[in-house]
């Protein structure tokens, strides 16, 4: 299964404070460990929300809102995408992560949808599109 592992923002990350040399080294070592375990597919750090935007939707209306955003603890400061066998394995790996922030912090793990998760739950539109594609395929073959 695939998980997205999100490092939540803190006041310090939102203030744009750079991590200490010590933390940088610990994080580099941790990232190397993830790579060497063959589970890391991607990972990036994000700028503070002061450099971000939000687009709000209401029917056909779109409004753009500038950062920074208030609810710091709900913001994401960085993320990884891992491929693991189970949620428990992801939790065990996260427990091995150095504290990513100078103060108390939080990391959230969410499972990424995969085609298998949809299974029979394909929406009717998708099913119709599938059927159409198959028909086209057969028509092509007949040609």
């Amino acid at each position: 299964m695939r998980v997205m592992v999100m490092v939540k923002a803190t006041d310090s990350s939102e203030a744009g404070e750079m991590p200490s040399q010590e933390l940088l080294e610990a994080m580099t070592a941790y990232n190397e460990e993830l790579s060497r375990a063959g589970i890391m597919l991607a990972g990036e750090g994000l700028h503070p929300s002061s450099r971000g935007y939000r687009v709000q939707f209401d029917g056909k209306k779109r409004s753009v809102i500038d950062g920074p955003f208030a609810e710091t603890k709900e913001l994401v400061a960085g993320f990884w995408i891992w491929e693991v066998k189970s949620m428990e394995e992801a939790i065990e790996w996260v427990k091995r992560c150095p504290n990513p922030m100078p103060g108390p912090s939080e990391i959230e793990i969410r499972q990424v949808f995969s085609p298998e998760d949809f299974g029979a739950e394909f929406t009717p539109e998708l099913q119709e599109r599938e059927a159409k594609l198959r028909a086209e395929g057969e028509a092509r073959q007949r040609r």
């Binding site: 060497r36 189970s86 065990e92 085609p115 599938e130």
Partner: protein, 417 residues
């Protein structure tokens, strides 16, 4: 299964390869190392649900395994001088190094690589290598391996026991192969990983077209080797090939579970992250001189990945890559694929000409994709009846239920013209 039980299994998956590798270096015996690690795992299954998961579960397992090793060696009748020495050595290390975790962690990368080399050792049969690699490096339980290969648990158990015995009898040293030997041994490692991947990708038996879990296990082990041996171009070639092949996984079957051929796949369902990783790994697969077989196959897969629509496929480029592949890895299967690529690039007549040259190839006798390819080319030439016959012959030859259904369908379509 309780939460703690699942957590212990997760810790096992993370720690087992390093644990076994470290113990194998200390004992010089992979079989013994695995037994000790297993004992520690069983102890964890007993104690952690009661005492809670320790803060440093890896260190806990290492300590438990080492203690068991010392006990066991002391208890044994010490007829074997080597064992006596070993027991002394283990307790000696324990006394000298307060943090044994650190001692074992030293050079853990090299130990892991040694473990991979030994699990894929040429004295073992291909089946044994695959089972042992999944067990020792992938951290899979015997039951999981049995499920993956659709064989009884006892078969895998025997396979692993016998493999460990063979390694002990052949006195295979726990070392990194060097010089010419290294290239041959690395080939064996890559071969095993690709074999596991292919078993997951094109299941040779059973009702499913794919067993994605096995593909992911192979990919994971491939990525580990790429990290441990980063200067080996073909390792990156293999990883790129597996990522790119796996990226098409979701599109290879339709909702009913029936296979969909490459050119008919919905490319919107190809996985971008994997394609990116695959194409991204390719530059590291380039080496001085001609590209290796895995790099070439990955380059071919990358050609498909780059084509947003099937019609945009660069077939002349693919045909050229197959030419190069036929040079470095001549095989009837490569020749078959080359014929198909030429058929797409320069017309079905050109492809059919190459294919006809393979008709008497003994290695392709009984191989369903030969008549399937013929059927495809004949169909495009408008020779519907012959195409139908070819597809029917292919259907009779495949062992995969889903594939047979597809071929029977194609035969009917071809006959209708």
């Amino acid at each position: 299964m309780s939460d703690t039980h699942r957590a212990v299994e997760a810790v096992w998956r993370i720690e087992s390869a390093r644990l076994i590798a470290g113990l194998a270096r200390l004992t010089g015996d992979v079989g013994l190392a695995e037994d000790l690690a297993q004992d520690a795992f069983v102890a964890a299954l007993e104690q952690w649900p009661v005492e809670g998961i320790p803060d440093r579960p890896g260190a806990w397992l290492r300590t438990a395994a080492r203690r068991r090793g010392i006990d066991q060696l002391r208890r044994r009748t010490m007829t074997d001088a080597k064992h006596e020495l070993l027991g002394a050595e283990l307790s000696d290390i324990e006394e000298r190094t307060p943090d044994l975790a650190a001692a074992i962690d030293d050079d853990i990368g090299d130990d892991l690589l040694r473990l991979i080399f030994i699990a894929c050792h040429p004295v073992l049969s291909a089946e044994a290598r695959a089972a042992l690699t999944l067990r020792l490096v992938g951290g899979l339980a015997t039951e999981e391996i049995a499920r993956a290969f659709l064989v009884p648990v006892s078969t895998i158990q025997q396979r692993i026991v016998r493999a460990k015995r063979t390694l002990a009898e052949a006195r295979v040293p726990f070392e990194l192969p060097r010089g010419d030997d290294r290239a041959a041994r690395l080939d064996s490692v890559l071969e095993v990983i690709y074999l596991i991947f292919n078993e997951g990708h094109s299941a040779t038996a059973g009702d499913d077209v794919m067993r994605p879990e096995l593909m992911r296990d192979a990919l994971r082990i491939g990525r580990i080797v790429a990290e441990l041996a980063p200067t080996e171009p073909e390792v990156h070639g293999l990883v790129a090939l597996m990522e790119l092949t796996a990226s098409r996984g979701a599109a290879r079957v339709d909702q009913s579970g029936a296979p969909v051929v490459l050119m008919d796949q919905d490319r919107g369902r190809w996985e971008h992250l994997r394609m990116q990783r695959g194409v991204g790994a390719l530059p590291r697969a380039v080496r001085a001189g001609p590209l290796g077989p895995y790099a070439l196959q990955a380059a071919i897969a990358a050609c498909h990945a780059r084509a947003r629509r099937a019609e945009e496929t660069d077939w002349p480029q693919i045909a050229a890559l197959y030419d190069a592949l036929a040079q470095v890895m001549p095989s009837p299967i490569v020749a078959l694929n080359r014929a198909m690529a030429v058929g797409m690039a320069y017309g079905p007549d050109a492809g059919l000409e190459l294919l006809d040259a393979l008709a008497d190839e003994p290695k392709l006798a009984g191989y369903h994709l030969l008549p399937a390819a013929r059927g495809d080319l004949l169909e495009r030439l408008g020779r519907g009846r012959e195409a139908g016959e070819a597809f029917e012959r292919a259907a009779a030859l495949t062992g995969n239920v889903r594939e047979r259904e597809l071929l029977v369908r194609r035969a009917a379509v071809a006959r209708r013209g």
